[in-house]
Symmetry: C2
Subunit: 195 residues, 2 copies
């Protein structure tokens, strides 16, 4: 297995992801995770003292991936296509990875600690996305009256809805879906607004 | 308790909703549900032979609520405000009810039977919503090139993202959020499109 060559913390996280994704957060015990990556409980607790610590580390990985996606400036005229493409890519993502994102969302609805972790992730992503939108506005692409932070948060909201519904959208993943999404974002960002 | 005057199946469903919402689907046993509504296992299994049967009944209740919302024609010029208002109302919904919707979404990501139930619900809602959009197009409000089924599905996607993120949106629930959402829907539905 490829994961066997990873350092222990990464190997544990990969196993935890798989267990949480298949069986949910509550039905997965620390013991199950030990078995899945063939380590002792002592080693597991040394790296991750609780299931919450594992979730925190998984959220941090997901956050880093999202931040990487928006770290570099995007040319204003390419912004909407870049965003639309980000949504389309979700449908191609690993099913287990998407299931885990929704599982963590569900946990965040009833566990204040997880809710706080998720909110930190959302804040970090919307902050970076707002910076990208701000550059596009300076380039004259985005309408002057758009509330950029609000638009960034709505893009995130649509993103998480899409993760949960990606397979259905993939079935419709034709030109019409791309066009509809583009119309939606053009409206949100007031690109080529009516005179 | 109010629920004590309900007929048994409704009383069981109310208890199941509460248990699933607080502890998740997997951590809730049929026994826990029996205790929560003070009935015997025999009575529970008579009405709902499995946890899946309970989820199916909960999904059917949620579906009926959504369908009620879109059953009557909406005057074309009021359509976007009606939709925006539907999104804003989500933030005011009971937290436990929203948590349960996300919990069922998470279950649908790993349980094919639940995925099928959800897809049936989504199809029923988008079908009715498409009928409303179609009337608005006949009234000349929605752009002629919009794919109505695709637009309806994207509205549903945004809706489910909003359910998971409703509290954050409620914190920002100011005029800017309403305007941003309205811009997004105007774009999607090509209302007052640029010449």
């Amino acid at each position: 297995m490829l994961t066997e060559v990873l350092p222990t913390p990464e190997r544990v996280l990969a196993a935890a992801r798989q267990c949480f994704s298949s069986n949910g957060f509550h039905s997965t015990s620390m013991k199950t995770i030990c078995k899945a990556c063939d380590i002792s409980p002592g080693t597991l607790y040394h790296h991750y003292p609780s299931k919450e610590a594992l979730i925190q580390a998984i959220i941090a990985q997901d956050q880093e991936r999202a931040l990487t996606h928006f770290r570099d400036p995007i040319a204003g005229e390419e912004l909407v296509d870049y965003l639309v493409d980000s949504f389309l890519q979700l449908a191609k993502e690993d099913q287990a990875q998407r299931a885990l994102v929704v599982e963590i969302m569900a946990e965040g609805m009833r566990n204040a600690e997880v809710a706080r972790m998720l909110e930190e992730k959302y804040q970090a992503i919307t902050e970076l996305l707002t910076a990208r939108l701000s550059e596009a506005r300076e380039a004259g692409v985005i309408g002057a009256t758009v509330d950029l932070a609000c638009a960034a948060r709505l893009l995130l909201t649509l993103n998480y809805g899409t993760i949960a519904d990606a397979e259905a959208l993939a079935r419709n993943s034709n030109d019409m879906f791309t066009i509809s999404l583009k119309n939606m974002l053009n409206g949100l960002l007031q690109i080529n607004p009516p005179a």
